[in-house]
Symmetry: C2
Subunit: 211 residues, 2 copies
């Protein structure tokens, strides 16, 4: 198998300011393209990895959850690793060793904090909905104070981050090129399915544009 190190830039943003412009752009592009991420933290010394959807604003990543969430209880102020990965395809080579995958992945380190202020929380929820479905927030039934209290929002300044990705063809050595087996890339992408309207939806209301 080919765990060939992909074009990699493990970058501590603070330590390589000369690479920061490029790296931040690459890191932000992957973070923004990924619909969800995995957050790693430690509880009683054990690593725990939880999926969540996230959104980014400048150098901060946001996510949310219930006030009853164990993860959201455990992590404010502690160091976490937030990894967002997009699987772009299988890379099939002539030998097992050179098989690989095309992907884009970003790892972000920082210490999350809770958004405690009521108005900041409300504004963050709006940006959350707007991030995924632009224009939707103004049409929603507005949140109640109780709903706001029951929602936790975390944000994290990205202290350090690295992006890793692999693109393109298999890297078989030329002596393998004529081996009689298919080689190339089998692309994968997250695709939209047909919207499924809620059974209680009144007639004449249509799903968001693009779906």
């Amino acid at each position: 198998m080919d765990e060939q190190t992909p074009p990699s830039d493990f970058t501590r943003l603070r330590r390589h300011p000369e690479r920061a412009a490029y790296d931040r752009a690459a890191i932000y592009a992957i973070l923004d393209a990924a619909l969800f991420c995995h957050i790693g933290y430690t509880r009683a010394g054990r690593p725990i990895v939880t999926p969540t959807i996230h959104w980014r604003e400048n150098n901060h990543v946001y996510w949310h959850g219930s006030s009853a969430s164990q993860m959201l209880e455990a992590i404010p102020g502690t160091e976490i690793c937030l990894t967002a990965s997009i699987f772009d395809g299988f890379v099939l080579a002539r030998s097992g060793f050179h098989h690989s995958v095309n992907y884009r992945s970003v790892m972000c380190f920082g210490r999350p904090e809770l958004v405690t202020d009521r108005d900041r929380k409300l504004a963050a929820l709006e940006r959350f909905i707007e991030h995924f479905f632009p224009g939707r927030w103004q049409h929603l039934r507005p949140p109640t104070e109780q709903e706001l209290k029951a929602t936790r929002i975390l944000y994290m300044e990205i202290d350090e981050a690295s992006a890793k990705l692999r693109t393109g063809d298999p890297k078989d050595p030329p002596e393998d090129w004529n081996w009689p087996v298919w080689a190339g890339v089998l692309p994968l992408q997250l695709a939209h399915g047909q919207p499924i309207a809620d059974p209680h939806l009144p007639p004449g209301i249509f799903p968001p544009e693009g779906w």
Copy 2:
């Protein structure tokens, strides 16, 4: 936002043997459906989350990488968390609070070990390729001893695991049903794109069935 706790079964397989049959089936189904996972471990006390592709055999999960991989260097014998998540769609409600996502996710805990025996490693690589592309292994250029040495394979007995998932419609309260905004599920799935043949592929060789 609705971090409504989804139908959840946090299950220590060893501690709830009466639920093991159902839970194992649910956990294995999600592990098998996910093409890749995220592995959380600690290095110098810091949580780190790395994506990788995996495969399962009975109660073991396998993954692989280069002998030079930091992750594969760090984790044998230590406790890790392997989380595999499938994002099935957005759940759009009438209020921001009840928005959610449909997903299937499994968290597995254990202590990975290296496959060190040469023949076991070769057999595992074969199962790896066959897991993703049944029938392909026999057509590949066989691995060299050097390639085998340059590949690390890890396996982990699943000591504990839990599955979490959400399916179905939004859970708006009936008093919101007539709010004039679209509500329902926007499904997402990882879809195949058109195969991209390697530029050096001789003519007359076709991609794996189903692509």
